[in-house]
Structures are given as structure tokens and as C-alpha cells.
Amino acid sequence: MSKDKFSDRLHLAKIDGKSAGFETLLLHAGTAPDPMTGARQFPIYQTTSYVFESAEHAATLFNLQAPGFIYSRLTNPTVAALEERLATLEGGRGSTFCASGHAAQMLAFLPLMKPGDNFIASRCLYGGSITQFGVTFKKFGWECTFVDISDHDAVSKAITPSTKAIFCESLSNPSGIVADIAPLAEIAHKAGIPLIVDNTIATPYLCRPIEYGADIVVHSTTKFLSGHGQAVGGVMVDSGRFDWTISGKFPGLAGPDPAYHGLNFHETFGDLALTVHGHAVGLRDLGAAASPMNAWLTLLGTETLAVRMERHIANAQKVAEFLSTHPQVSWVSYAGLPDSPYHNLAKQYLRKGAGSIFTFGVKGGYHVGVRLVESCELISHLANVGDTRSLILHPASTTHRQLTAEERTAAGAGDDVIRLSIGLETLEDILTDLDRALTRTATKKAAE
């Protein structure tokens, strides 16, 4: 599937009529100089609320009749600057920034679902998402059907009249599966439903899912976008390309809203509908607002995304190659290696490399895995990815421990699996630390 078929789906940003490059967007999108002071770095508007010009102005804002700020649970100028930047990076129409990646998933599903509805999700997701979708969403009466998304027939067959979306990760965490986005988008659109893609691990530096047909993109911005392990956050980006009216399946966006006296978001806001809904309903009622400080830290992080990703990927490629010949390692799953089953999909969808998060199998299983992560001196043992520092984790004993053994294996988080998020340290130091830890673990095992 050529991306040309979809490339007109992107909303581009221009400098004096000419499309701006990705690195330029990282620095400038959403952050034109402050009109009052001329401040070049975007100000932190650390405020909860905003003075109305008059009672009439207040009424206009509460009726959603004009853009403006009421209360920082809904909108905030610093958060808005970040939202415009993230929307622009993904080529979307608009975005809603919120407290975490999990909150972004809530914001995306809230307008689509009602009790009794279901959606289809890849069974290879971040473990926290599997729990959110499979356990907590059930409390709202939302069912999730987990499928192998590389089996397109299985995806099509899982769709029922109550199915409201298909969800996948562009590059999955931790198993490194690359989603074939274009045919999945076709399946979704044929059924009159949107394709939602979690683009956290790939980032828009490697892949912009909207250009291949995705309708909504979500992120945990906590990872590479903020990039320094400094701020938890999430975002829902709307492509503005999905017609919420056609199928009649989405009264939340294309029907009267009781809390706004029958206002119809699609009719009133056109292709801004989902973004307005994300703030005026999602953040208003779910309350998952991000702090202006976290938004600002994330803005600062995005400035260097391209240069960081370049080094993250270069280091990861070398570490994956090193591990693939290491005697204590049974396998390496990194789409940047030619023997990976996802190597070709990675070439198609991930323009500049296969990212810097991948898994490998340590010989000896669960307990050796636990010992290995405890033995690293430089690489940090913690439950995050996309930090500037290199990170290591044994998913079976941490992020995926709430799952059953079967679910863990299906999600690519079996007993012998070790997840790495390769950082920006000197490559030699990363390799030495891993080699030392692997050898120490093996020696210890032999001594037992």
C-alpha cells in the first residue's frame, strides 16, 4: 500500500505559504511569540482560571460560541500551545492534551462508546492498556475484543454492529510488532468506524499514522515526546478526516448533546468536533487535565525530538546487533534486524529506523530475567520507556504481571523476555553494562 494514497490526509503547517519541515515544526508549531511580551520561550500560564471581560463574554464562552479560557481543567494557554504542536507534528486537525496516555485513551473512547458497545484491539499492546481495556472499561459496559491484528481476516470477522473502533499500536510495546496501518484503516472505514493508533513508541519522527489512514492518534507523551523522564502526559490527536455522521453510530459527536442544550458537535464545529469534544466534554467530565508545568516540560522536550531519536535509534541498532550474537541471549526481537518478521513493515512505515525499544530472550527464564535487571550498573531498572537514559525491565515480573501467563506470552511478555529502552549514553558504556550483567547472571546461575 503506497502512502501516496493517503498523504493528502495530513494537515500541514506552512511558513509564508511553504510547508515547514518536521524539525522546524518541533521548534515552532504552536509557539508563535507571546503577543503581549514577545517572550521567545513559551510562557508557563500557571493559573487555574481566567477573568471574564463581562457577563456576556462569560456566557459566550460557556456556550462554546467563541474560543477563550474559562478554567484550566478544560483549557490553558500553555497546554494549548503544546496541543497545537502535537497536532501539527502528527498532521492532525487538533489535539487534546491530558494527564497521561491512559487518560488520552479514555478521551478517545468516551465520545464513541456507550454501554453494550465494543471495540477491537491488538492483543499485543502495552500491558497497562490491556488491563485498562479488558478490565476497567468493562465497568462502563465497554467490551474489548483482542485479536492478532496481523490477521486481517480475524480483524474483519471480529467486527459486529456494536463495534465502534479498531485500536492498535504502530510499533508495539514491548514486542516490537509493526502494525500494517493502511489495510487496517481500510477494514475500519469499510465498517464505518475509525482506526485509533497509539503512536507512542514510533513517535511522529518515524511514523505519522494519519497519512496511512488512521483517524485518531493517541500518545503517552511521557515517553520520547517529553523525552527526559520528566513529565507524565498524554494526547489524543484527531485527524479531522473521519465523517462522524455517515454510519449513524456516533451520536456523541453527531447527535444532540444534552449538557449543551442539544448542540451537535459535528454540525457546529465541523472537523474540529472531536477536539472541541475532548475539552468541552472529555476533560470537563473525566477531569484528567494536565498541569501547565507538565505541558511546558513536554513542549521543551519536543524541541529536540528529532536529534534525540536519531541517536536513540543508532544506539539501539548497535545494541540489538551486539545482543543477537551474545551467548546468553536466545533471541532478539528488533524490527531493525534483517531477520525480524517485521523488518519489511518497519521499512514501509518507520521511515528512519525501528525505534529504540525492543525485547530479547535471556537464557534461563523467569528468575534469570529478574537477576539480570537487578545486575545492571548503568542501565536503570524501572517501568518507563523513551527516557534519555537507557532502561531495562523484566515485563513478566512488572508491567505485565497482572496478566495471566497465556496473556503474557500473547503480548510478547513471556518469562524470558527482557525489555530495553536504549538511551543516549556512550554506546560502549551501554554494551559493557549489558555484557557484564549478562555474564554475571550466567556465572551466578552456574555457581548455584
Partner: protein
């Protein structure tokens, strides 16, 4: 015919700064209709908006008398903003062409999802500028920074200190 798949920021800025008075066809007295939102917003930005709607003729909408058609409006107006479907837009455009000299109409603007290329060609042949499938409220707020307050991609990259809002 001019390109109607995309409009440059300069074209839209030029139109929105030249226009002072707008006849809004399909205006509504109901506060939660999109046309009401747009009328109220444009008024707040200093435009005079004259509502046109046969079913509300004679009524007051946001302080302005509503007229049954363009010809009934006393005085002149620069732009006709059409809140009707693409098919119905043709008749409005033809009426505007007839009234062009008398009312000094310079711009035909069709709202989001409204597009009629044949009518646009006739309006352009008569010397009027045409914008289709756009909303003046969205475009105004996009060009002057306010749309970004809602997390929307304005498509604008600049290091210039811009005026906000008005």
C-alpha cells in the same frame, strides 16, 4: 475559476480585513445553531452582520432585524455568507449577482460543506471573490491566533509577534 481546494492565508486575511458588513443567509434565532455562533462571534470582532431568513423575517436576531431575502436589506453589504446547502447556494448566488452593483457586494462566502462550483464560476465572472467550504469564524480565529487556544492546528508557523483576536 480560482482554486477552491485551498486558499492562502493572505487571500483569506485580505477578504476578512476588507469586509465590514456581512449578509448572513440562513441565520437562525436559535442560540445553539451554528449560524448563531458565527454571527455572534463576527459581531464581537467588529463586523456588522445582517441576518437573512424568510422564516424569521422581521424578527430581531442579536440586535439586528432579519430580512426575507438579500434584496430587502436596506443599504449596502460587502459579503454574502451562505448557511444553506450546496444546491440552494446557487439561487442565493444568482440573487447576489443581480444585486451586486446596487449593494456593492464583493465576496460570496459558502460555509463548511457548502460548495457549488457552477455558482462560484458565475459569481467570479460577475467580478466577485468566492470562498467555499470554509467558516469565517474558524478562519478569522485561525489567522489571528484564537483557534490555537482550543488545541487546533492553525497551520501557521511564524516568529512574528502577532496581534491576537482583534
Amino acid at each position: 475559476m480560482a482554486n477552491h481546494d485551498s486558499y492562502t492565508n493572505d487571500e483569506l486575511r485580505d477578504i476578512l480585513s476588507m469586509v465590514k458588513t456581512i449578509a448572513m443567509v440562513g441565520a437562525s434565532a436559535n442560540w445553539n445553531r451554528p449560524s448563531y455562533f458565527v454571527m455572534k462571534y463576527l459581531q464581537a470582532k467588529g463586523y456588522r452582520v445582517i441576518p437573512v431568513n424568510p422564516s424569521a423575517a422581521g424578527q430581531d436576531i442579536l440586535g439586528e432585524t432579519c430580512y426575507a431575502n438579500l434584496a430587502d436589506i436596506p443599504g449596502q453589504f460587502d459579503m454574502v455568507d451562505i448557511f444553506r446547502n450546496s444546491e440552494a447556494a446557487a439561487g442565493i448566488v444568482d440573487e447576489a449577482i443581480q444585486l451586486k452593483s446596487q449593494k456593492e457586494i464583493k465576496v460570496i462566502w459558502m460555509q463548511l460543506t457548502v460548495r457549488n462550483d457552477a455558482a462560484a464560476r458565475r459569481a467570479e465572472a460577475a467580478g466577485m471573490r468566492v470562498v467555499m467550504d470554509r467558516c469565517p469564524k474558524i478562519e478569522y480565529s485561525r489567522l489571528y491566533g484564537e483557534l490555537s487556544w482550543g488545541g487546533i492546528n492553525s497551520g501557521i508557523i511564524t516568529s512574528q509577534r502577532r496581534k491576537r483576536g482583534s
